[in-house]
């Protein structure tokens, strides 16, 4: 049903820039690009045809993990994307799959490990597209295991990084929701939740389904797919009318599934299932809303596309598939007469009810449950023109048997452009081409609170790692505390104390909780006075501490009494101009910013020497002042010494309060003695 379009006039546009890389900084990375009206973003899943086998109907599933353009003008094919492959079971040799438990027909294996076949780079050459119009039937896939191309094994665990990409991007992108495209993410999120139901539904109805499929399949798989469609529509109607029932039903199904599935998967399924359950009520609402809006605006035929939005599980709920085969057929005819695009949109599913060609990768729900990571991912693709041909190294994958299970492809219904890829449920539709885009069409209507709620629910039922509470940057807390008048400057601390130790001192001596940080020594701080900024819990606590320290005397190990006062800190903002750097008469070139040693035969050097001289002088002054200060301190001690008979300054203090110190804190004598002696004998 191809509707070839001239290769030349295919629209191509880059999306958001990402960064520059490459050895010569000549590679520009992008976050997305638009090709022939469809937007492709990073981590989107795409269907790719093999250009070396143009006749083959087989499409490969890959995820875009990098998009870049070589700025080098001479490069023949400047535009590239890098794809990370997913393997269908049919692409992996049966020998390897032997012993792998319960492979779902629509399961995908994430390529991993080292070697050929993990990822490929394809040219994004607009001169080279194979513009076969195709209708891609929505296909639901699940992936939860990886296929290691190096060792040719199916592994249950997925490494943290695959082909240099953090798996977080491959799984659902839960943590990207903060980004600006919040609405879009909301969608992705909710989609994800709905999608997570799908595998459950699939499993639950697996047997039923197969039974149903058989007769249909043998005659014409079109029926089946149409049945689906019809079912979807039904589901949709149901949705509009009996929302609550549906939700209920679905949850029932879910639990049924849970019971029926193996133990190892139970946990994660449950998590995702329940997570999904709780949000789909919400999601439905908004969906329904959306659909209504859409429907009003759309011509009658296009309504079909709307109705297709149901997710897999919903499809399964509509049990009328068989009964409506006739109707379906009618529809089919109708469909045929529709322009390709509309038909495509009809095929769309997973909330992507936009009539335009769009292909979509819905977010999936990941339950990082130890090793038992269960990733449910759905790739829903809309009709799409062939973007380009991606090359896939399938031939090189050892043990790869392309022909395996190929018959299912042979059954492809060309009229519909739908193929039943393997038996059951997963229909990969495909002609050669593929594409996709995260959908956020009508769903922008979705309100933010939907997302919040969905999020919360999801969190409540998922296993989530405990992370340390994020700490506000010190500067912020300090400014905040100053405003609330609970910031205190402690002086006379031993400069070697650590922030933790200061906190401990405040806790032990003043019985207050606080956050403290030592002020670092610089050339401008008084070297013998250790200072710390302390944030108390409240203004009252701060006041209490200051009064206590002011009226009483808290003697620390260094023999100095602690001094406290409310701290005044510098207002934020630009510091005044720095003196000593001469303003250029004209805006300077880069030389201004370069840093270097000046050479002895320049005026600059002489001026620098003047600064050095000045610096030495002021250092000397500071030293002198410190010396006087210290001697004054010592003077106090000495006077004290003269009035008593003890021999050293510090002993003096210790002896003056012998019972408390000697008895209760014996170590005080030793540490206090050494420290003070050291300090004041200087």
């Amino acid at each position: 049903m191809g509707e070839p379009t001239g290769a030349k006039d295919l629209e191509f546009k880059w999306g958001k820039k990402r960064g520059i890389g490459g050895v010569k900084k000549d590679v520009q990375f992008y976050e997305s690009f638009t090709f022939d009206g469809d937007e492709y973003c990073l981590y989107d899943c795409v269907l790719v045809a093999d250009p070396s086998e143009p006749d083959s109907d087989e499409l490969f599933i890959g995820m875009i993990i990098k998009i870049w353009e070589k700025c080098n003008k001479r490069a023949k094919t400047p535009r590239h994307v890098k794809l990370l492959w997913f393997y269908k079971p049919s692409e992996i040799s049966p020998d390897i799959l032997e012993g792998v438990p319960d492979i779902l027909a629509n399961e995908l294996f994430l390529a991993s490990g080292e070697g050929l076949g993990v990822a490929n780079i394809s040219q994004l050459d607009k001169r080279n597209p194979q513009p076969t119009d195709e209708e891609i039937k929505s296909a639901n896939f699940v992936f939860r295991r990886a296929f290691d191309v190096g060792t040719c094994k199916v592994v249950d665990t997925i490494d943290d990084k695959v082909a240099g990409v953090d798996v977080q991007f491959i799984f659902n992108r839960a943590d990207s929701k903060k980004e600006a495209t919040a609405l879009q993410k909301v969608e992705a999120r909710i989609n994800g939740n709905l999608d997570s139901l799908k595998p459950n539904g699939l499993l639950a109805c697996g047997s039923v389904r197969t039974a149903e499929d058989k007769p249909i399949e043998s005659s014409d798989c079109r029926e089946n797919s149409c049945g689906r469609k019809e079912g979807k529509e039904k589901g949709h109607n149901q949705l509009a009318t009996e929302k609550p029932t549906l939700a209920e039903e679905r949850s029932n199904k879910d639990s049924g599934v849970q019971e029926g599935t193996g133990h190892n998967k139970h946990d994660s399924r449950e998590a995702s299932g329940s997570g999904g359950n709780h949000c789909d009520g919400k999601a439905q609402e908004s969906e329904v809303k959306k659909q209504f809006t859409k429907q009003k605006a759309m011509p009658a035929e296009e309504r079909y596309s709307n109705s297709c939005e149901a997710s897999g599980s919903r499809v399964n709920h509509s049990n009328s598939k068989k009964a409506q085969v006739d109707d379906v057929k009618k529809q089919l005819t109708k469909q045929k007469s529709l322009p390709a695009e509309e038909r495509l949109s009809k095929e769309s599913n997973g909330l992507d009810d936009r009539p335009q060609k769009k292909q979509k990768l819905d977010g999936s729900v990941t339950v990082p449950n130890g090793r038992n990571t269960n990733i449910l991912q759905k790739i829903s693709s809309d009709g799409k023109r062939d973007l380009e041909c991606f090359k896939r190294p399938k031939d090189r994958v050892p043990g790869d048997e392309v022909s395996h299970e190929k018959p299912s492809f042979a059954k492809k219904n060309r009229d519909l452009g739908v193929s039943v890829s393997e038996g059951k449920d997963a229909k990969t539709a495909t002609e050669k081409g593929l594409s996709k885009k995260p959908s956020f069409d009508g769903k922008l209507l979705k309100r933010a609170e939907d997302k919040m709620l969905a999020d919360d629910y999801e969190k409540n039922y998922q296993v989530i790692e405990v992370r340390p509470k994020p700490e506000a940057p010190w500067e912020e807390s300090v400014r905040e505390a100053e405003k609330e008048e609970k910031l205190v400057l402690l002086q006379n601390l031993d400069p070697t104390y650590t922030s933790d130790e200061v906190q401990d001192i405040v806790y032990s001596a003043l019985n207050e909780q606080c956050t403290a940080r030592m002020i670092e020594r610089t050339s401008y701080t008084i070297s013998h006075i250790g200072q710390a900024l302390v944030i108390f819990n409240s203004r009252e606590a701060a006041e209490r501490a200051i009064v206590r320290l002011d009226e009483g005397c808290l003697l620390l190990s260094n023999g100095r009494p602690l001094v406290a006062a409310f701290a005044k800190i510098n207002p934020p903002g630009k510091p005044p101009l720095f003196c000593g750097h001469i303003k250029p008469h004209k805006p300077q070139r880069d030389t201004m910013a370069t840093s270097r040693c000046s050479q002895p035969n320049t005026l600059e050097f002489e001026m620098a020497m003047e600064w050095c001289l000045h610096r030495t002088r002021s250092d000397h002054t500071l030293e002198t002042v410190l010396k006087t200060e210290t001697s004054r301190t010592v003077h106090y001690y000495i006077r004290r010494k003269n009035t008593s008979s003890s021999q050293t300054v510090t002993e003096e203090i210790l002896l003056s309060n012998p019972p408390a110190l000697a008895r209760n804190i014996p170590a005080y004598a030793a540490s206090g003695l050494n420290r003070t002696t050291l300090l004041y004998i200087v």
């Binding site: 300090v478 002086q491 006379n492 070697t496 922030s499 130790e501 401990d504 001192i505 940080r517 002020i519 670092e520 020594r521 610089t522 401008y524 701080t525 008084i526 009483g552 005397c553 808290l554 003697l555 620390l556 100095r560 009494p561 001094v563 005044k568 510098n570 510091p575 005044p576 101009l577 720095f578 000593g580 750097h581 001469i582 250029p584 008469h585 004209k586 030389t591 910013a593 840093s595 270097r596 040693c597 000046s598 035969n601 320049t602 005026l603 600059e604 050097f605 001026m607 620098a608 003047e610 610096r615 002042v625 200060e629 301190t633 106090y636 003056s656 309060n657 110190l661 005080y668 540490s671």
Partner: protein, 253 residues
């Protein structure tokens, strides 16, 4: 059984001590690898610092010391962490010998080896215990302690006064230098003028001298050493090769 559990406790204690020791040792090693840079302009950014010190060694981390309590006109300082302690020694020597300027001239930065107290996140020194006591009001030390507290405040005041004076002096020096530079610039323009209009050559012929003018500039300097004039007395005067060198510089504006 008891012995066992004791052993276990001892083992875990040793383990805890060891890990604290190890942490502190790692910190001390980091301090040795770090250089303290002072007299920085507020315009300096982390990237500038990195670039500046990458000339000497491999910078692994740069962090500016925030100034909360000192007046905000004091120059900034930063800690530059390098790959190893050898690089620190080399940089200190280099900066000692040649004034090193970052993001402006002619005021050079100052470099010193970092100390542990310059890190606000320094770990606890293992094995140290801190003691305190509240002094009794009747205690004769109480008065002394009071005075010491007062003295602390006095010292802080004195220090800030000192700082103010120091900054004022710096400003004076900066103003003076700018003035000098302007004068120099004028001087250069004058000389450039007479060279350009031929007066210089005429005079040289008149006094029978052979001037040698080279115009060159230092590759990285903001100040262009414009002319290097060599007044060589001619042999005819019989005074031998008496050479006078004149350094001229101009702020390139």
């Amino acid at each position: 059984m008891k012995i066992w559990s004791l052993n276990n406790i001892a083992a875990s204690l040793i383990f805890i001590m060891n890990s604290a020791d190890a942490e502190y040792a790692a910190f001390e090693e980091k301090v040795r690898r770090t250089i303290f840079i002072d007299n920085l302009s507020p315009l300096v950014t982390e990237a500038v610092m990195k670039k500046a010190f990458d000339q000497f060694g491999n910078v692994t981390n740069v962090r500016f010391i925030m100034n909360y309590t000192e007046p905000n006109y004091v120059p900034r300082s930063a800690l530059v962490e390098l790959e190893n302690a050898d690089q620190v020694v080399r940089i200190l020597l280099e900066i000692e010998n040649y004034p090193f300027m970052i993001s402006g001239m002619p005021r050079p930065v100052r470099a010193r080896a970092a100390e542990a107290v310059m890190f606000d996140d320094r770990p606890r020194k293992p094995g140290r215990s801190i003691h305190f006591c509240w002094l009794d009001q009747q205690d004769p030390d109480f008065k002394i302690a009071k005075k010491l507290k007062l003295l602390t405040r006095v010292h802080a005041e004195e220090a800030s006064y000192m700082l103010k004076r120091q900054i004022a002096e710096e400003e004076k020096l900066a103003a003076q230098q700018e003035e000098n530079l302007k004068t120099n610039y004028k001087k250069y323009e004058l000389i450039d003028g007479i060279v350009a209009d031929g007066t210089f050559d005429r005079l040289a012929r008149c006094y029978n001298m052979r001037p040698n003018i080279t115009d060159y500039r230092l590759p990285t300097s903001d100040i262009r050493v414009i002319s290097y004039v060599d007044y060589g007395y001619s042999r005819s005067t019989g005074n031998g090769a008496k050479v006078k060198k004149l350094y001229l510089a101009s702020w390139e504006g």
